[in-house]
């Protein structure tokens, strides 16, 4: 049989390895062919017969009572099929929906609107133009109420009452509520011990470090197409879902439609970055409208709706304190966070983690004791609180510790790198138990930091900076030079089901594979790529584990009818969790294949050794069977009693998170007269453990750094005092173009995860986590020799100019 197998017999092992396209090679992406030819299939490309289009009527106010809604003029427009309001949803108990954080969120506002652009009515019409026209004709009579936008004022005694629906609830999903605008207090660490460390400390610092409200803003906005087949009683939903299986479960629980009669499909997704984890009113309304009308209904948000109504991120106001000895050994960390969650607590965190994994905030340092408290509050802003290209609240945590380290270094008169080197968790301390409860799996921080210093000629940069500062003082230059150092430790791959779940479903993930008689396979996983290249990289893992070429393995995700259950893609969990399932499923295949090979070669299993793509008899290398030959035999020539076929499934519950890390160095030049800054150099060293596809890793790092650049240097979803959202278009919200975006220099070290089947840790979010700190530290460092302790982000040119002006530096 199998001519191909015959041909490879004589090939060199290197050629066979190259043919495999397995782990470690920069395999070109299999998904590219359709995207470069305009043949991707995104949600807005889905067009079903008889499909209608839905559009929202949204609140112009940040806080107002709805006195009446008149839909008659809208309903009179030819082509309008329905206008849904809360009154229509209430009998179905769908005017509110549960959030991932244990709160409820209004699908359509009932008595009040709580943020500008909140969903008030849903107009369904024959096309999107008619729907938009009719939405303008829905008359809503509002009575304006006092607006609360400042989270620091949310718990004042006379603060406006926002959530009348829960005003008497003294107990929330995460414990006691102290005030009617309070959501939760989350505490971790040893308070008394930490307080004692501060009492004894030789040096302390304390600073309010805010991380502004931003938005992931993927190129494709959120969208859904719902189609109810009333005869079969089946609902099909296409949507921009990073976690399609969870959407199906939630849809079943909310609608009462049995889960097996709901078909949730996430087709191609045009970027997610956390934006597409949550469940939004648009999804629910398209489903309800389809159920009511019996025809497919599409909803696609525009960019303004996307930026102002779905999935903000951050809005964390962190008061950080460090205690240290005079010579720079850190003895304690204390932090309080005021978390602005907007009008509803719709944060996308594992259910038991209201502040995500913020307790990774001791960072890469051996800090003996720590205590953290987080208070979540309501304001008249959009709900969300997603992890924008990071694991849950990890970029906030990392930003806090990395700014605090620089502030401490300045106070001690130490170089920021020297302080970091002095406090790093040492390689021999892994697995490392952090003061706030995590077990770091592996790391070699000093090596990474020193490599970054060498590659960037760090000492020379500092010497140049010193010279430039002197030249500035002499009036010979108007430029300020900043060197930003950031060393981050991420916590990704959520997560062990013992402490991570989404609405009760453990955060495992899965892979199943079927190898067909010719040795070609289809593998399906519970995650969902949004551009990460899963179709390419999962096949590489399977290729190495099984011994068939990645080109012969088709990867599918996103169709809940065919893919095994999984918790989706966010928090860099695809490689750590589903990637592990892929490796294990490959090993299950190989175990069975070995039995078949032993049968074919008439030897015992122990007599066989595996080599790239085949089993060989030890000592008799000419006696061998390729995996392709084994695959064929799996369908016609099996050992006695073995069931035919070659397929396997694996559900992987990770024993721990993974802890990628990295050292980033940024050099910035700032014009003191204009505040205009230029990134001169950005060096990013990432250690994500075993590297599956270096080309894709580098691409992920480039993209994450560019998003970090946007966040640090300009992004903000700002609300004025009237509750008007000021950053809701691409004119107002900074998304870097190719012109502003710096050149990136990438590098790596490899410290495999000891508990992951192939040692991989995940990388997609690391550059955002480390990048924001590096940019912000660079800007702050440019002023470090002056009377400045901490400059809040975003560091746009105007704000930077204001700093220069305040310091009397402007010409």
């Amino acid at each position: 049989m199998s001519d191909a197998a015959q041909k490879t017999d004589g090939e060199k092992i290197e050629d066979r390895e190259a043919n495999l396209k397995g782990i470690g090679c920069s395999r070109k992406r299999t998904e590219d062919a359709r995207f470069i030819q305009g043949k991707g299939n995104y949600v807005d490309d889905v067009k079903l017969p008889g499909m209608l289009f839905g559009d929202f009527v949204r609140s112009p106010y940040g806080h107002a009572r709805i006195k009446s809604i008149d839909t008659s003029k809208a309903l009179a427009v030819p082509g309008v099929k329905a206008v849904l309001t809360a009154a229509d949803l209430k009998p179905l108990s769908l005017h509110y929906m549960p959030t991932l954080a244990g709160d409820v969120q209004a699908v359509l506002a009932e008595e009040k609107v709580l943020f500008q652009n909140q969903e008030v009515a849903f107009v369904v019409a024959e096309d999107r133009y008619i729907a938009a026209d009719a939405a303008e004709l829905v008359e809503v009579d509002y009575e304006e109420l006092p607006v609360l936008v400042d989270p620091f004022k949310s718990m004042e005694p006379d603060a406006p009452l926002l959530r009348e629906d829960i005003k008497d609830k003294t107990e929330g999903a995460h414990g006691a509520r102290k005030h009617y605008n309070h959501i939760f207090t989350w505490e971790v660490g040893e308070k008394e011990e930490t307080d004692a460390a501060f009492d004894k400390a030789e040096v302390t610092i304390k600073e309010l470090i805010s991380y502004q409200r931003v938005h992931p803003s993927p190129m494709e906005t959120c969208a859904s197409v719902a189609s109810m087949d009333k005869i079969k009683g089946e609902l099909t939903v296409y949507g921009t879902f990073q976690a399609p299986h969870v959407v199906r479960t939630v849809t079943s629980l909310l609608s009462g439609i049995p889960e097996h009669k709901i078909h949730v499909i996430a087709p191609d997704i045009g970027g997610g970055f956390g934006n597409k984890v949550g469940v939004y009113p648009g999804y629910v309304c398209s489903i309800v409208a389809s159920i009511v009308l019996g025809v497919p209904v599409k909803w696609v948000e525009d960019r303004m709706e996307n930026l102002s109504a779905t999935a903000f991120a951050r809005d964390y106001h962190m008061t950080a304190e460090l205690a240290a000895t005079k010579d720079g050994k850190i003895t304690g960390l204390r932090a309080h966070v005021l978390a602005d969650h907007g009008a509803f607590d719709a944060c996308a965190d594992p259910t038991k983690w209201p502040a995500g994994f913020f307790n990774i905030c001791t960072g890469s340092y051996d800090i003996p004791t720590a205590h953290v408290a987080v208070d979540g509050v309501y304001t008249n802003k959009a709900p969300g609180g997603v992890a924008y290209r990071c694991s849950f609240r990890v970029t906030e945590a990392s930003y806090m510790i990395e700014r605090a380290m620089d502030i401490l270094a300045k106070k001690l008169g130490m170089d920021p790198v020297e302080l970091r080197l002095k406090n790093f968790i040492q390689p021999q301390q892994f697995p490392y138990q952090s003061a706030l409860g995590w077990e770091y799996d592996s790391g070699d921080y000093p090596t990474a930091m020193k490599k970054a210093m060498e590659k960037t000629h760090y000492d020379a940069l500092r010497a140049e900076q010193k010279e430039k500062r002197e030249a500035f003082a002499r009036g010979e230059t108007r430029e300020l030079m900043g060197i930003g150092v950031a060393f981050f430790t991420e916590i990704v791959g959520a997560g062990p089901t013992r402490n991570c779940d989404i609405l009760g479903v453990g955060m495992f993930d899965s892979c199943e594979i079927r190898i067909h008689p010719t040795g070609a396979a289809i593998a399906r996983l519970g995650t969902k790529s949004q551009g990460q290249g899963h179709e390419t990289t999962y096949a590489q893992i399977l290729a190495t584990e099984i011994g068939i070429s990645a080109d012969d393995i088709m990867i599918e995700e996103g169709d809940t009818d065919t893919a095994p259950y999984g918790l989706g893609t966010y928090g860099s969990r695809s490689t750590p969790v589903a990637g592990a399932a892929a490796a294990r499923v490959g090993r299950k295949i190989r175990d069975k294949a070995k039995k078949i090979a032993a049968h074919l070669l008439e030897v015992g299993e122990d007599d066989l050794e595996f080599e790239v793509d085949r089993f060989k008899v030890k000592g008799l290398p000419e006696k061998q069977k390729t995996m392709k030959e084994v695959a064929w035999a799996a369908y016609n020539n099996l050992p006695e009693g073995m069931e035919p076929g070659l397929e396997a499934v694996d559900y992987y519950d990770p024993p721990n998170m993974t802890y990628p890390f990295g050292a980033y160095i940024c050099v910035i030049d700032i014009d003191a007269d204009t505040g205009v800054s230029m990134i001169r150099k950005f060096y990013a060293l990432d250690d994500c453990g075993t590297r599956i596809n270096p080309m894709i890793i580098e691409g992920q790092v480039h993209g994450g750094l560019t998003e970090a650049f946007g966040i640090a240097m300009g992004q903000e979803i700002y609300y004025d005092e009237g509750g008007n959202v000021m950053g809701a278009s691409l004119m107002d919200y900074f998304v870097p173009t190719a012109v502003e975006t710096p050149e990136w220099e990438t590098d790596f070290t490899v410290t495999p995860s000891p508990h992951h089947p192939i040692g991989a840790k995940g990388v997609g979010e690391s550059p955002n986590v480390g990048g924001v700190s590096a940019f912000s530290n660079a800007v702050n460092d440019a002023f470090a020799h002056l009377d400045v302790t901490h400059i809040q982000m975003p560091h746009d040119h105007w704000r930077t100019w204001k700093v220069c002006e305040k310091l009397g530096l402007t010409g």
Binding site: K28, R29, E31, D32, A33, R34, F35, I36, Q37, G38, K39, G40, Y42, D44, D45, K47, R128, Y129, S217, P218, M219, E220, T221, D268, I269, G270, G271, F273, V300, D302, R303, Q530, G531, Q532, G533, M695, I696, E698, G699, Q700, H702, G703, G704, L705, T706, E707, S729, L730, M731, V735, T737, A738, V739, T741, E743, W744
Partner: protein
């Protein structure tokens, strides 16, 4: 709403159609012509996901009316590969240089790069960056897009040179 007849050339094919005067070119292309390669990312001319080529210029088809395209010659991403399926040098470059991730901006980015290379067949990296500054990508950080366009420029220039010799 009363409809207007338009006649235009799309990817080399003459097309006659009835459109409402307010129909945007992007909706006409995507929904009436079923050419879904060009995407809608903002509807405000900022992001460039809807970029197509019209009469020798890059246009953002979310802010061009279909009636304005009457009599014009439009090329979309679907018209870039040769009829035999051979990829355009830009399509090849984007794949070779890993110039795309989620793929949503890619059709607009390739169409803009196509016109850029007509305007300037041998652009510097800075000129490429300026030339595609009307097109936003959230995934790649642009570095590999610049490489992809340079790859295509070099390949196209080599082909031109060969043809001349």
């Amino acid at each position: 709403m009363a409809k207007t007849q338009i006649t235009l050339t799309i990817n080399g094919q003459q097309v006659e159609a009835l459109v409402e005067p307010r129909t945007l070119l992007i909706h006409f292309l995507r929904e009436q012509q079923l050419l879904t390669g060009a995407h809608i990312g903002c509807e405000t001319t900022h992001c460039g996901a809807c970029t197509v080529d019209m009469n020798g210029k890059s246009v953002k088809s979310c802010t061009v009316l279909a009636v304005q395209a009457d009599g014009s010659d439009v090329t979309t991403i679907e018209g870039m590969a040769a009829p035999d399926g051979t990829l355009h040098a830009l399509q090849e470059g984007f794949s070779e240089m890993h110039g795309l991730q989620c793929g949503f901006c890619t059709p607009g980015m390739i169409m803009r790069a196509h016109r850029l290379l007509q305007e300037n067949p041998n652009p510097s990296d800075a000129e490429i960056r300026m030339g595609i500054s009307g097109n936003i990508c959230r995934c790649t950080g642009y570095q590999n897009i610049v490489k992809a366009i340079r790859y295509a420029a070099e390949k196209m220039n080599a082909a031109t040179k060969e043809a001349a010799e």
